[in-house]
């Protein structure tokens, strides 16, 4: 038990020192909770008309009603699921592609590196949003397509940073040693190179979630997501198309936008203390914990006498 207690204390200490990360994780946890249990929490359904259109916020409907007379609070809660899902799936797709391309290019170098990086450059210079619009339009509006399109277009920065690190790691002695012991290239990449990059990949993953959620909102706003889907993006899109702003119903559009902003902010808070930002600061173990120094070295004295 004491071991668990000690661990808990250590975690709390770390949480205290990494406040930004902790706050970010807490915010994301709240939204994750909403995404999972949304339908149980939301007071009304997503297509349920509970009053007249654009009813202002009241005690019964804290965020008011939208153009269809649907409770905005319920929509925001229910929308978390799709927005986070798109964020996570699209991120997973782009991290797998990006890290995969980056590690292979960096590890093998030479021609492989050249070809993969030129492909990466190609995807990098393609204007992402228009391409997303085109692809989503050709494939038709669907949640699945949105996830794949976002994932397939956001991987380039990951590939580049992962490659840069893989280039450095492959020159390390243990990589040569593993090769000398007969390890295959695949094994070296998976067991020896990838773990060295995990901080980098994790940081990029979290930031990518933020990007993907914004991309989802953008695509939904442009009407490239099925109108039946309930997400923060489609909410903003509906509010816009039902002229909520000209009706003065700011409450139909602000909550969803705010949710997106808060999640993006939370993602950035999580990683603000990691990676490069952290490297420039004093390492943790130097700033707080110091080795215990006894004033009089007893053992030495005993030895002498």
């Amino acid at each position: 038990m004491s071991a668990i207690a000690a661990r808990a204390r250590a975690t709390l200490r770390l949480a205290n020192r990494r406040r930004a990360t902790t706050i970010g994780i807490l915010i994301l946890s709240v939204f994750a909770f909403l995404a999972v249990f949304g339908p149980l929490i939301a007071p009304y359904g997503a297509h349920e008309q509970v009053g007249r259109p654009f009813e202002p916020p009241s005690s019964a409907h804290p965020f008011g009603l939208d153009g269809g007379g649907v409770d905005v609070l319920s929509l925001v809660i229910l929308g978390a699921r799709v927005s986070l899902l798109v964020g996570i799936v699209a991120t997973a797709v782009s991290i797998v592609i990006g890290a995969g391309v980056g590690i292979v290019a960096g590890y093998f170098g030479g021609l492989v590196d050249g070809v993969l990086m030129r492909i990466t450059d190609f995807f990098l210079v393609v204007p992402v949003l228009p391409l997303m619009v085109v692809v989503a339009a050709v494939w038709g509006p669907s949640l699945f397509h949105v996830m794949i399109v976002i994932g397939a277009l956001l991987w380039t920065p990951v590939a580049r940073v992962v490659r840069a690190q893989a280039l450095a790691v492959r020159e390390r002695g243990f990589v040569r040693r593993a090769r000398a012991m007969g390890a295959s290239s695949g094994r070296i990449m998976w067991v020896h190179v990838l773990p060295q990059l995990r901080g980098l990949i994790l940081t990029n993953t979290v930031l990518m979630i933020a990007q993907a959620i914004m991309a989802e909102a953008a695509l939904a706003f442009l009407g490239l997501e099925s109108a039946q889907v309930v997400s923060w993006g489609t909410q903003i899109s509906h509010a816009f198309s039902s002229a909520s702003m000209s009706a003065g119903a700011w409450w139909a559009i602000v909550p969803a936008g705010l949710c997106i902003a808060i999640v993006v902010l939370a993602c950035n808070l999580v990683v603000i203390d990691s990676g490069e930002a952290r490297a420039r600061r004093r390492p943790l173990h130097l700033s707080r914990r110091r080795p215990r120094v006894t004033a009089q070295p007893k053992a030495l004295e005993e030895q002498v006498s």
């Binding site: 002695g173 243990f174 040569r176 012991m181 067991v191």
Partner: protein
Amino acid sequence: MNPPLLEVAGLDVFYAPLDEEPRRHIVRDVSFSVSTGQRLGLVGESGAGKSTTLYALLGLLPGNAEISGRIAFEGVDVLAAGHSGLVALRGHGIALVTQSAMNALNPVHRIGRQLREAMPSGGRGRAARRARVDELLDRVGLPPSVARRYPHELSGGMRQRVAIAIALASEPKLLLADEATTALDTVVQARVVELLHELCTELDLAIVFASHHLALVAQLCDTLATMYAGRIVELGPTEQIRDEPQHPYTRLLFEATPDLGERKEHLRSIPGAPPPLSDVLPGCSFEPRCPRAVEGCRVRNPAVEPASHGGEVACLRPERVEAHG
């Protein structure tokens, strides 16, 4: 006498030019053999081709290297099969302990995992593999608790021991040690050399130990090969070479090495530097720095010939015992 475990004959390594540079001839016509239980020391200054020779044996050189010659392991010419023949030796019969153990361990994995990784795959259960980890650690004189540690928690000497244990995990017959003790302090160096000596006798392991640390090599190895500018210029039993070096370079190397046993007024250094390896040298590569050089040394590259100490020497004017006194 046993048939040699490893036989290298006429090994040449070239580096193809990257730009306008001439092709560089890094290892020149190197021949040696190692039998089971034998300890061969490769000595020479930096750039003499010691490491390149070792890495060539496992096909670990960069892509622009061209290797030719004969490399036979247990009687099979592995180089005949090309690069893949060398790759097949990795972890199967030959293991490598690299320069500076600091980098040879993966910082994110525990020692136990890195040991298990190097074990031959298949045929062994989880428990047996764990038992083998303890056994390997014990072999190199480390407690079993080290298996749960990360490399940064160990001292340099311990890491070098772990690196040796990892090499042993693949159950090799031949251990290649490339400057395996160079990053360590003298006391630890001596211990590691002692450990290698022990392993060699107990496990019937052959060792090729490349180092510029002549005293250490002489202590560990029964056979000594002096390399200069990519060639083995002298090869023979350690004691005889130490007592009566035939090649001027070997003698100068010994004179440049401090020795506790005898008092030397001055440690001699060898003036000059090795020739650039791009050159096609018509004569002896050591000629410009050699105190005994004569006119003929500049035009004729000496062949490797049997020497009076029972080994071989490549010199037109090998030193005789009389030359010493």
